[in-house]
Symmetry: C2
């Protein structure tokens, strides 16, 4: 269902499927929109083919044509309601000069991690159009290639999440260095987070200028903080970013989703940060979440990614359960509660998408 809005009929006409944007603004839709975190990824054989053509994972991120190609791949397979820019969450610290690289099996690393006061004071917000131009080129290419099929989601890592990688020099389990800095030198940690918030705000704003129609902030490691520290060191900076983003583009509101993995205890505070929607991991009951914050924001989520290891029939049952828990009415974007795993059978993803569309229709009819 696409109800034309009055202020920009051309754009609305050109966007053939605007379920995602409508659901994120809690407007009526005919069926619940669905997309999948990491939908362009290793579980798809065509992704693996493009990736090996590109060389490394980073080569793929840096090549706008190939980034566009892999962004489109899941849309050619499944009737998804959104495309998401193919990129890495660590492009911003890379553009700050930290030297991002990837090691087989160990994930992202930085050649020059942030170790001390001097390292932090040296950091400056990168100019998105020059220093992250390859991302903006990818956004423009994808928009052209999409040609209005579905909206394009732009994204970034949250300042706290980026800081953990920058201080640890890569992925970590307990974040000893980051937290030692936070607990012993909070003023330095705040300096780091300030420059990251400015950088991310400029980066996401540039993505919107280049054509992103919705935005998502991934706070992958905010859930490793205590309740108080989450407010002070993660949420506060996401709030700052949201406040600085353009509200509209091409005559339409650009909805922002904030997703903190492990943030189920803090949904009320997240819902108050200025975002349009809150991403939920699978540990939260989405019915409870709607009761807590559904009057203020839309919800995105939240099936356990491991359900996709089960049979298509079991996947369908789980989709039915989540739709039932959310209940009738607007404001739900279906997704997994975290990224899809590389070992998943693409046919199981097809079963998920089909089940969401088919089983959600009764929830969007007038009672």
């Amino acid at each position: 269902m696409s109800t034309p809005s009055s202020d920009n009929p051309t754009e609305i006409k050109s966007l053939q499927n605007d379920r995602l944007l409508r659901a994120l603004l809690r407007e009526p839709v005919d069926q619940t929109p669905v997309w999948v975190m990491r939908q362009a990824g290793r579980y798809l054989p065509e992704y693996r083919a493009t990736r090996s053509k590109a060389g490394s994972f980073l080569d793929l991120c840096h090549n706008p044509e190939l980034a566009c190609e892999v962004t489109m791949q899941p849309l050619d397979r499944f009737p998804l309601d959104a495309a998401i820019l193919f990129s890495d969450i660590l492009t911003v610290p890379d553009a700050m000069g930290l030297g991002l690289y990837f090691t087989e099996g160990e994930g992202p690393r930085f050649e020059r991690p942030v170790r001390n006061e001097q390292d932090i004071k040296r950091l400056a917000a990168p100019d998105p159009e020059t220093e992250l131009g390859y991302v903006m080129d990818a956004v423009r290419l994808i928009r052209r290639e999409l040609n209005g099929r579905v909206p394009l989601i732009g994204f970034s890592g949250s300042p706290w999440t980026l800081a953990t990688y920058m201080v640890e020099g890569g992925g970590a389990k307990v974040f000893a260095n980051t937290k030692a800095l936070m607990y012993d030198r909070p003023e330095l940690m705040h300096q780091l987070l300030e420059v990251l918030a400015d950088s991310v705000c400029a980066y996401l704003s540039a993505q919107v200028a280049a054509g992103a129609q919705s935005l998502m902030i991934f706070d992958t490691w905010g859930g490793m903080l205590s309740a108080r520290d989450y407010q002070e060191f993660s949420l506060r900076y996401m709030q700052k970013i949201v406040a600085g983003l353009p509200k509209q583009a091409e005559g339409r509101r650009v909805p922002v989703v904030v997703f903190t993995k492990g943030g189920g205890l803090w949904l009320e505070q997240i819902a108050d940060c200025g975002c349009d929607a809150v991403g939920l991991d699978w540990t939260v009951d989405i019915g409870d979440a709607r009761q807590r914050i559904g009057a203020r924001v839309a919800l995105q989520g939240n099936m356990d990614p491991c359900v996709l290891y089960a049979s298509p029939q079991r996947i369908r049952e789980e989709v039915a359960y989540i739709l039932e828990r959310y209940g009738h009415g607007n404001g739900h974007v279906f997704n997994l509660g975290h990224g899809i795993h590389p070992a998943i059978n693409p046919e199981h993803t097809a079963a998920l998408v089909e089940a969401v569309h088919e089983l959600s229709r009764p929830y969007h009819q007038a009672p």
Copy 2:
């Protein structure tokens, strides 16, 4: 403060410090008791010395004299209010014949993981006094060695947590095999959890018979489940265990603590499982937790283990904050929100213990 109870004056007299037992039952104490998860561990040089004397980590667990030695080590350094049995959470599946071993840097592995229906049907609850006799011997030795200084805590992993290791064949990040089994063959998963619940109940009961004065169930991986699955596959079996445990030993109640890491969303349900106290990880605000469930159970926790990387002054500030959030009155056992890390300076642990005792006294005085 030790108020003698009427039914067993000899035992009370012999237990010189019963703050832990009193706090777990929400009885008055003079200062908040404190112990530290993994207090007998690699951060202590004397532990590393005993460990290298023993051979492997498993050799240490299997040797009651050495297990007793490392259990006592932190008590000789710090005025802790409890000892906790030194053992591994995987002793029960090991006794079931899965062949536990440890690899350097990769943690626990099983030679014969549980892979299919036959593997599950073959499992039987081990007899604690024969097949886990080395643990019971350790408990008896430690009680003798403690000689009433502080109470001894016995423990086990939760059925769900043990099942994840048994099905994955070791530690895991996403539990793909365990969850595939759970989603596709729930009746088989329930069979596995049944035999584990029976085994753990017998194991913990035997620990009490051997001298454990309090019990703790570690549900390390329950927080990886959805809200509904947590109830069905983890909490339900802990509830069954708690219901089957002896309520008293040596004339005193044996308080049981249930700790689900990442379980902050489900505190109300955990508090209803029959336990005396709920363990909290550091993501939960302990003041909020007390409001939610503090009228029914005691709370144990919950400082971020990473605070111990910071300065003693900063550690003291964090202790003060947590004590203030809990507030006046009974029912708090101070602990970290997860095990202490191997890289922690023991002097920082000393600062923690001292701060808890010193700063908590005003909260236990009549207003």
